[in-house]
Symmetry: C2
Subunit: 237 residues, 2 copies
């Protein structure tokens, strides 16, 4: 496979960065500033649980295109209402919470693996996060990508085939020359439907210590690795 692939496209939330730890930490800081006590990890999980349904409504045409910051804000407002915390988080605190998704820690093996892979392949971030969000996140975490791609460029969310096809078209390659790397079976299923090759990258802590992440056995893929350095080695870097 190695000789045919020219582009590696990486999912970001959960695959390249640790959203669970990063969002929970910032929720905790912002809540503390507001004088609110809450279980920040459970809050981050409940917020993330609204992620796939909110994007599905866009992909299904139930609503017009809205970028991820807007979906995050709407699901935050809903979550605060549901948890009867609405009065405790003002506009500024809510804006800061939404921006928590712009600044998340890379998994410890990501920079080393990407640095090695970049010598041989074009590395693209291919995320459901907005273009600005991913640009900020990649910069803050020093992730050595060659370019940022975003579902925003296709105005449709993964796993809809449109964002994968837009990435392939912009990079001017055949779809089978692109390897989608993700920790989620649903992302790889979408990539395969669009003609891309797929690599499952296992991130057992992706949803924190209390909830189960996708495992290799759950995913159908051309390649399966347990981390970024193993991916570099599997691809001859």
């Amino acid at each position: 496979m190695n000789d045919e692939i020219v582009v590696l496209a990486f999912d970001i939330f959960g695959t390249t960065v640790d959203w669970h730890t990063g969002v929970a930490r910032q929720v905790d800081e912002i809540a503390t500033r507001q004088g609110v006590r809450l279980d920040a990890e459970a809050f981050a999980d409940a917020w993330r649980d609204r992620y796939l349904p909110s994007m599905r409504r866009v992909n299904d045409g139930e609503r017009d295109w809205a970028y991820l910051d807007t979906l995050h804000r709407e699901s935050l407002d809903d979550l605060l209402e549901t948890q009867q915390l609405g009065d405790l988080f003002d506009e500024e605190a809510r804006r800061q919470l939404v921006l928590a998704w712009h600044r998340l820690p890379a998994w410890p093996d990501a920079v080393e693996g990407l640095t090695r892979l970049r010598r041989r392949y074009v590395l693209a971030a291919l995320s459901n996060g907005g273009f600005a969000l991913i640009t900020h996140l990649v910069k803050a975490a020093n992730l050595p990508f060659d370019c940022v791609l975003s579902a925003e460029l296709a105005r449709a969310y993964k796993p809809d085939p449109r964002p994968y096809r837009t990435a392939v078209a912009l990079l001017d390659v055949l779809p089978e020359r692109v390897l989608m790397v993700a920790a989620h079976a649903w992302d790889l299923d979408g990539a395969r439907d669009a003609g891309l090759r797929t690599a499952f990258l296992e991130r057992p802590q992706e949803k924190g210590p209390h909830r189960a992440a996708d495992r290799a056995a759950d995913a159908t893929s051309d390649l399966s690795v347990t981390g970024f350095v193993e991916l570099a080695e599997a691809l001859g870097c």
Copy 2:
């Protein structure tokens, strides 16, 4: 101005990389392989002379969107025909010539200046080159941009306001927070019309030793510098 700017958008051909030297060198190599003797610098100049008119036809709606590789190929075919060289360059040689624009040398001060500027600002490549072309070029020249933007994302060419506005929208900033940096007065005029701030970066050798490049006196801009390091110093980096 420094405190208001958050994004620096850089023109690429002529401003960040030396297209004249890079294209002429590759034209010379490919022509030599084909057994053709020609003046490679004059050929590169004549090819580049067809650049602005070819983009204007797209912006004016005289033809559908076509990315820069297509325009380069069409103007190459036209140039070879005009110079009665058509029989001497086969399909493969023409493909290689078009790809010459994907691999061009950075100006000697570009990497140092960009590296300093990147500590404080988001750095975007904002070029009329296609998304794949600019991704390849930035990677090959080790230019430390945070993201690649391209006229292709707006399906319109600078100086039309659409590519500048698309860049501003994708980066989710106010236009006046973006500083467009270019060696061409026409690019800065387009950026200003779209509400961006402007910096003229002088590249006197941009068109080679025999033709005059734009000079500071020709351009209207908020800031004028003679190089990337001076730009970094002017912006406090």
